[in-house]
Amino acid sequence: MAATEADFRTRLQDWLPKLVLAPSFAVTLLFVYGFILFTVVLSFTGSKMLPKFDWVGFENYGKLFALPAWSTAIANIAIFATLYIVICTLIGLMLAIFLDQKIRGEGMLRPIYLYPMALSFIVTGTAWKWFLDPGIGLQRIMQQWGWESFTFTWIKDGDMAIYTIVIAAVWQTSGFVMAMFLAGLRGIDNEILKAAQIDGASNWQLYRRIVIPLLRPAFLSAFVILSHLAIKSYDLVIALTGGGPGRATEMPATFMYSYTFTRNQMGIGASSAVIMLMTIAAIMVPYLYAELKEKKA
């Protein structure tokens, strides 16, 4: 007897999954990769207020890196990202290790540390904007409480304003980093810790030599998430300083927006977006690739 052809229902069933996935995939291809391509193309054109397709080569990129505002943005993102990632990691790790010491009230503390993550950056920005305002906020509070000479004018100070963004951003996300490290700590096999103690390791040695090295994946995840958040940071800057005072807290994200939509320099805006994408891709692609490969195996 000859092999029968697959019956209709079986063939339909073979196709259904792909049919179901297809719209999402098509949308992703168009709205993500198509759009990326579009923006990349725009970055090589002389588009001003509206997209047009007059090829200008790398001119926009040349202009971009000659612009003082872009240099400020780059310097700012470097300062911001470094401090933000380092401080969040340190605070998160410290809180996680402390919380892991059989702390009474852990159930109370954990949600307190984490709730800022549920807020919009606009809300966070508003709260910190007024709290750090010298006229009504921290400076005045301290002076009224008797510390007459206390001054805190960072948010109005072009050199220091970037650090207020670090404060607010750390406030918002360090609790989340804590949660990541805590999950990592709880995932470590207790028997390893017991073995290390029997080997005579002090608490300090235990953490430095055994626990923290075992938290490597958590460090990696934290770094990836934080750097990604840092580069995308737009809302917080807008709400907290509006990019000011002057242009002191300009970041690539705010730069891109203002050049594209308010200054009608779409070509330059597009080229700055491309630079942002390439930076994030340099961090995310290897990470995602490793994650997916691991999953597959």
Binding site: L21, I36, S221, M276
Partner: protein, 292 residues
């Protein structure tokens, strides 16, 4: 994260423990501070802020700032309060969350239980879209929304949020369904159930927890979004954009108390979700760091 506390093998001295508690409490105060500042100052008259101490409790308690923020404050040029924008946000969030979650569930189902050659690539491409800086899509999106006649409308925002949300929802459901035994799908196939029937009868009934995670994550993200709102909101701006307009408005006296009340109003829905279902929120965050 594992919520259950397990014994740490580490033991600490008394003095160390006191220090640890002290530091933990100090940080708790740090995290609560802005909430406190917003809370108390939204309940006092403006003079008490400009003339008094921000940390002090209200001398004269009042709900006026809340009332103003909700219904009369000047947003942009209109004295509408935040109310219409709150509604815009709701109208945008509900369909966007529903659609992206359903689509994510189906995608996750296909990507784990109906694997095909290249499925990891498809997923990888979708996943990467979660992490792009959205600045890269702003310009073409504005063009496309304009062409579709959706610029400045709630449906336009829904479309945007669905498109850039399905990466995450797919990730959630994929990771969740991956641990669901494939043998069950095979058993159902032998039993004669087809693609949708298996999804509907076998997978969906056990998808509760991950659906909650996905809904909460999407809700929080979309509600809190500012960039898309300010870029494509037009006349249908969401709450975050309105709040920013309120706070940044350069005309007239700065009504700090109204700003704080408005900020809390904007934060309230996500805060409530966090308080009610914090466990799921944390799970979503952790899964968002890809480790599923």
């Amino acid at each position: 994260m594992s919520v259950a506390t397990q014994d740490t093998a580490v033991s600490t001295g008394r003095a160390t423990r006191v220090l640890i508690y002290l530091i933990l409490l100090l940080f708790a105060l740090f995290y609560l501070l802005p909430l406190y500042v917003m809370g108390v100052n939204s309940l006092k008259p403006l003079e008490e802020i400009t003339g008094g101490n921000m940390m002090a409790l209200p001398g004269q308690w009042t709900l006026d700032p809340w009332r103003q923020a909700w219904s009369t404050a000047q947003i942009g040029v209109e004295p509408t309060g935040l109310k219409p924008y709150f509604l815009n946000s709701i109208l945008m969030v509900v369909p966007a969350v529903a659609i992206s979650t359903i689509v994510g569930a189906l995608n996750g189902y296909v990507l784990t239980k109906w694997r095909f050659r290249g499925d990891t690539w498809v997923f990888g491409l979708m996943l990467f879209s979660c992490f792009i800086p959205f600045q890269i899509v702003l310009i073409p999106m504005a063009v496309v929304l304009g062409k579709l006649g959706l610029a400045g409308s709630v449906p336009g925002l829904i479309l945007v949020h669905v498109v850039y949300g399905i990466g995450f929802t797919t990730l959630y459901f994929r990771n969740y369904y991956a641990s669901f035994p494939t043998e069950l799908i095979r058993a159902a196939q032998i039993d004669g159930a087809g693609f949708f029937r298996i999804f509907w009868r076998i997978l969906l009934p056990v998808s509760g927890p991950i659906a909650v995670v996905s809904v909460i994550w999407q809700f929080t993200n979309i509600w809190n979004d500012f960039l898309f709102g300010v870029s494509f909101g037009g006349t249908s701006q969401p709450m975050t954009v309105a709040l920013n307009n309120l706070v940044q408005s350069s005309t007239g006296v700065k009504e700090y108390n109204v700003h704080f009340a408005g900020a809390i109003l904007a934060a309230l829905p996500t805060l409530v979700v966090y308080i009610v279902a914090g466990r799921y929120f944390v799970r979503g965050l952790m899964a968002g760091s890809v480790k599923g």
